[in-house]
């Protein structure tokens, strides 16, 4: 955890938000909270780009936020992240460049999975006992202007994760041509299709117990209901829905005292909430009172944690493997050996826990492509791994995992090298180091029969000796090892040898 000041700017689809916090030994003091409405999403979701007028307005707001950073003398300790309103705009790089030139602020586009992950751990850190929800089944949804991001967890496994284009403002823009008295029916039909997507991805019934939501919609509902508890009940949402569904935004704004921007998205937002409750089969939707900028600030300043992430990742990868009918015992031993060799060679590779996690993930998934076809299974594993989405893993990490599974097989072709060459040198080197280890580990179960009982890694000055104790002669493992060891020498500049000893015969 860092002490000192940290600022976060969040450029959302309907507003710009900024928070500055001071951290002192884990204690957070919120110094500033700023909100400036600007509907970038309105441009993006209808036109596909941000109009010039909005770019200038955005720059003006960010200039003011820059002043706030200067006020506190914050030079580097800030993050300025953009979500769907910018992410999906064709001219996003123009906006980023323009803002950089005019304000000196560096905007980063945040991946949907990062966005939901940050929101997710914000909620997790705020709701007591949330860890038990992860076991019993929880659907976490972030309903924002642009997207509805959903993460379903059960038995400490992420069984669904996705950012779906069903945000309230997007729906509103999509159906604005339909007369007000029947527009809610269009929302209803459209939202239904979102659940088709989820159901087809889940591939079967999974009992979920809790529904937890976040996003700007929660603020609106909090304002309307002013709840003493941290949940909204189905009946109050249903009553509200009946009251507002066929009214104009103006009428709803006046009746409820909310802002016009909130009134405009109220009906599609309620539609989504109610349908989510129906899907989960619950009468309560829980929420956290922590704002997104607050969570962002605590996240980027390393002041919140996601306990159990590694375990959840592992469970999720095995869950995925099982869906592809993978050879689980093989994956398990390759994973164990990979980690064991990685840990033993710390001085040689100089990599950290993040890379260890990526190696472990790749070891679990490396043969998943067999489900499609054995001959080119590494290629199939590659794209399955590449499509893997789990909040907490960013695109860069997923890319590395995908390359590891692609290259675990000897004889990678030219196209692999070409694809690899697009990555920066540092990433390429990390991949080569991890692949070298993965290949050795994979070789130790070439037969897929788990003949190796124990492995020791003997690090000597001139060579590395892998001492394997086997149940019986492991001919294929010896052969596989010899085929896969070369990359190790090329990468680390030291040979690796296999010393095999049969324990029982």
């Amino acid at each position: 955890m860092k002490n000192g000041l940290f600022a976060t700017i969040n450029i959302g689809a309907s507003a710009f938000r900024m928070q500055i916090s001071e951290f002192n030994d884990g204690h957070e003091r919120i110094m500033e909270t700023l909100v400036k409405p600007l509907g970038l999403g309105k441009d993006t979701f209808t036109k596909g780009y941000i109009t010039l007028d909005s770019v200038y307005k955005a720059t003006n707001i960010l200039q003011m936020f820059r002043h706030k950073l200067d006020e506190y003398g914050i030079k580097k300790n800030y993050k300025c992240v953009c979500t769907s309103g910018v992410r999906e705009a064709r001219n996003r790089y123009f906006l980023i460049d323009h803002v950089m030139n005019k304000t000196g602020l560096k905007l980063e586009i945040i991946d949907p999975s990062d966005e939901i992950y940050i929101k997710y751990i914000g909620v997790k850190n705020d709701i007591k006992g949330f860890e038990s929800y992860e076991k019993k089944g929880v659907l976490f949804a972030n309903i924002s202007s642009g997207n509805v991001s959903i993460n379903i967890l059960k038995d400490d496994t992420s069984i669904f994760s996705g950012s779906l284009p069903y945000g309230s403002l997007r729906l509103r823009q999509l159906f604005k041509g339909i007369p007000i008295h029947s527009r809610y029916k269009a929302y209803n039909q459209y939202v239904e299709t979102m659940f088709n997507t989820i159901n087809s991805s889940l591939g079967g019934a999974s009992k979920i117990k809790y529904l937890v939501c976040s996003g700007s919609s929660v603020n609106t509902l909090q304002f309307i209901f002013n709840p003493k508890v941290n949940y909204f009940h189905r009946t109050e949402l249903e009553e509200l829905y009946e009251r507002v569904k066929d009214k104009t935004s103006q009428e709803n704004m006046t009746a409820l005292g909310i802002r016009i921007s909130e009134a405009k998205v109220l009906v599609p937002m309620l539609e989504t909430y109610l349908r989510l409750m129906q899907f989960v089969g619950t009468d309560k939707v829980q929420f956290s009172r922590k704002s997104f900028p607050n969570v962002l600030t605590r996240y980027y300043s390393n002041n919140i944690r996601d306990n159990g992430f590694r375990n959840r990742l592992r469970n999720t990868l095995y869950y995925l493997g099982r869906r592809y009918n993978f050879d689980e015992p093989h994956s398990k031993v390759v994973t164990d050996y990979s980690v064991q060799i990685f840990d033993a060679l710390g001085d040689l590779h100089n990599l950290g826990m993040n890379e260890r996690m990526l190696l472990e993930a790749a070891a679990i998934l490396h043969d998943i492509g067999y489900y499609i076809d054995a001959r080119m299974h590494h290629e199939h594993s590659y794209y399955i791994a590449k499509a893997f989405d789990m909040p907490g893993l960013d695109q860069e990490q997923i890319k590395i995992i995908a390359f590891l599974v692609l290259m675990h097989r000897v004889g990678t072709d030219e196209s692999t090298e070409t694809r690899l060459s697009y990555l920066n040198m540092e990433t390429q080197l990390t991949i080569r180091k991890l692949v070298s280890i993965l290949r050795i580990a994979d070789a130790l179960d070439t037969s897929h029969m788990q003949l190796v009982e124990t492995v020791d890694v003997d690090v000597q000055s001139s060579k590395i000796i892998i001492k394997a104790r086997t149940r019986k002669h492991a001919y294929l493992e010896k052969l596989g090892f010899d085929q896969k060891k070369d990359m190790f020498l090329e990468t680390f500049g030291i040979p690796v040898e296999l010393e095999m000893k049969v324990l029982y015969e």
Partner: protein, 670 residues
């Protein structure tokens, strides 16, 4: 609405100005201070005609004839105003005559007979200072009647040449000194128009000067879009009068000696009604008495020496001291110089990261403005929210803005359509234990000149929560955010009035439940209908309400079945009472607030104002001392009985209590 009763704000304002005028005949007021009150009366009345009367004319011209809450149509109201204003001007003339006689006894001669040695000096003043500046316009086909600017003194001259009558006008230039003080064995105060009048033959060679008459016009001040009027009325005026000529004449002050033919001639050329004409003795426009009042310090209030309380000095340790407790300052009894020095210290302090400030009205050569510019030059972030709409101060305001911008300050002009009336300063400092925000909230402007004559409260605290809210306020004013959370501070136009209404409601609830319920309200004006109606309700419910309202009051007091539990008093004294302090019994919690807002529609709806709750017990005691002393005053207080004000006098055997004198001697904070 019939259950409620209102007093018209213009009538009430005239009553206030009458109270000011009466100070000029109060025997306890030093002689030259009386002259100041006469001048204030004149200056106030000028503004009243330019803004308020002009507004009523606009309504009449737009054929708006709906009765206001007090039951007057604009036309009826204008009649009432004219009647009252004429009466008051007559009274002012009488008091002026009486006062200058007294002055003469003290060797200060105003409007002297000019002869002998004095005559020679006056002649040379005319030749050296005046003649080069004046340009008479003698009317003819080639020289039509000239445009006479607002509040500009003129001399209308009747001439003869070759048996023919000619008229000529001398518009006295704005840059000409109004009064010349000639110190011989006595001090003679001669106005420039008197000097010109006696030198007219020199101005018009070849003509015979038959007579001359003083003339002064008051025009619609071109600021007529009054934010406190009803919106529909404004729209109507705009619609009906698309080509309305701003600057229409609303008052004509004319020399008593002018014959009817002159009046008719002027009426034909300028265009005004009979009721707009104020026939007065020379001199017109008694604001020149401000310049006379410094003629003898012994005839003024004895100089009082403000002091810096709590043993504070704005040295390098001041921020540690400010962290120890909250501090309340009561100007002008406490020395505002400390507050200026604090800002200077902040500008020079290496740990200060940023300074933010609202500037509504500052004085010329303000050291505060200098300090802010210095802070910016030293690399601190300085944000200044300047209100350019401060009435009649526009030009000066623009001057600061440029100076501050040149020094590198971030200068903004607040929120479109809203005048910024809150007075805040925020100093942000990086200290070893983290960021500390020093908040300074005031009921008065950061103006070193008016700080000597206005009473106001300044509150300084390092309380983090208050710092957060002050920061929120600046973020709103600078346009950095559109939303903020409030706890100790309520801000107009979004939440201040509703906060007051809910606090009054709480008193009503308690009163109806048979519990103790009381409030004390010290403000400058009360005219907001909704608040008045709520106060009526509170009175009927049995809430005991004591109000100290210096100026306009749209509510009756002590009327059975209506306001019988309400007492209202107005204090007019040496200093201009300015702080707004509000107390609610609140079921024994005794909540105390200071505020920048008067209880007027414009303050509640068209300005950024603040209401700040004081929770520090010492500060609360201090506020209660001020309120109690105000309520005890029996020498400078006027009580409202129904719709009429009566000046209080100590009862037989009752001790005199003058609240302002009390605080001069009190040395509170030592």
């Amino acid at each position: 609405m019939s259950d409620y009763k209102f007093i018209n704000r213009e009538i009430s304002w005239l009553q206030f100005n009458e109270r000011v005028l009466r100070e000029a005949e109060d025997s306890s007021v030093p002689l030259l201070e009386k002259l100041k009150f006469l001048a204030i009366f004149s200056s106030n009345l000028d503004e009243f005609f330019m803004i308020r009367v002009a507004g009523i004319y606009d309504q009449i011209d737009a054929k708006y004839s709906i009765k206001d809450a007090s039951g007057h149509t604009p036309k009826e109201l204008l009649g009432k105003i004219s009647e009252t204003a004429h009466r008051l001007v007559k009274d002012q003339q009488k008091i002026f005559r009486k006062t200058i006689k007294e002055c003469a006894k003290h060797h200060i001669v105003i409007q002297p007979e000019i002869d002998g040695e004095l005559s020679d000096i006056v002649d040379s003043i005319f030749n050296d200072e005046i003649q080069p500046l004046i340009s008479p316009v003698t009317l003819s086909a080639a020289n039509p009647f000239p445009f006479i600017y607002n509040l500009r003194q003129c001399i209308f001259v009747k001439l003869e040449k070759g048996g023919e009558t000619h008229y000529s006008i001398i518009i006295i230039p704005e840059n000409l000194q109004r009064v010349f003080k000639i110190r011989l064995h006595r001090t003679y105060c001669v106005t420039s128009e008197e000097i010109i009048a006696r030198s007219l033959p020199q101005v018009y060679p070849g003509y015979t000067v038959v007579d001359s008459y003083m003339l002064r016009l008051t025009r619609n001040a071109d600021l007529t879009v009054e934010e406190d009027e009803a919106q529909d009325l404004l729209k109507l005026i705009e619609k009906k009068l698309p080509s309305r000529k701003k600057g229409n004449v609303v008052r004509v002050e004319l020399d008593k000696t002018a014959p009817d033919e002159v009046l008719k001639f002027l009426q034909a050329h300028i265009g005004f009604d009979n009721e707009d004409v104020y026939i007065v003795d020379k001199p017109l426009d008694l604001t020149f008495l401000f310049s006379v009042a410094d003629s003898n310090p012994e005839l003024l209030y004895p100089e009082h020496k403000p002091f810096v309380p709590y043993g504070l000095t704005a040295d390098e340790n001041i921020f540690d001291k400010l962290k120890e407790r909250d501090y309340v300052f009561y100007r002008p009894y406490h020395d505002f110089g400390f507050n200026s020095a604090l800002i200077r210290r902040a500008a020079q302090d290496d740990s200060v990261l940023a300074i933010k400030m609202t500037l509504y009205r500052a004085n010329r050569g303000s050291s505060i403005v200098e300090s802010l510019a210095e802070a910016a030059r030293r690399g601190k972030q300085v944000c200044v929210v300047i209100e350019l709409k401060a009435r009649f101060d526009e030009e000066r305001n623009v001057g600061w803005a440029k100076k501050l911008e040149d020094a590198g300050c971030i200068v903004t002009y607040g929120i479109t359509g809203l005048k910024i009336h809150s007075k805040n300063l925020l100093i942000i400092r990086k200290e070893p234990q983290g960021i500390v925000r020093y908040s300074y909230l005031s009921t008065g402007n950061f103006n070193e000149a008016t700080a000597k004559i206005y009473t106001d409260i300044d509150y300084i605290t390092a309380d983090e929560k208050v710092g957060q809210e002050c920061s929120n306020l600046f973020n709103l004013l600078m346009g950095y955010t559109d939303y903020a959370d409030w706890h100790r501070i309520s801000v107009a136009p979004t939440g201040l009035k509703s906060k007051l209404l809910s606090l009054i409601d709480y008193e009503i609830e308690n009163a109806l439940a048979g519990k103790k319920a009381e409030m004390i309200v010290k403000i400058n004006s009360l005219i907001d209908k909704e608040l008045i109606m709520k106060l009526h309700d509170a009175s009927r419910a049995g809430v005991k309400i004591e109000m100290i309202i210096r100026g306009i009051c749209g509510m009756t007091a002590g009327v059975k079945g209506l306001t019988e539990n309400i007492s209202i008093r107005s204090i007019i004294g040496r200093f201009l009472e300015h702080p707004r302090i509000i107390y609610f019994y609140h079921g024994g919690k005794k909540r105390l607030f200071i505020s920048t807002a008067d209880w007027m529609e414009r303050n509640m709806h068209s300005r950024v104002e603040q209401l700040f709750e004081i929770t520090d017990s010492n500060a609360k005691d201090f506020m209660m001392t001020i309120l109690s002393s105000n309520l005890k005053d029996n020498t400078k207080a006027w009580v409202l009985e129904g719709e009429i004000y009566r000046k209080l006098k100590p009862e037989a055997g009752e001790a005199h209590h003058n609240t302002q004198e009390f605080f001069i001697g009190k040395q509170i904070g030592h």
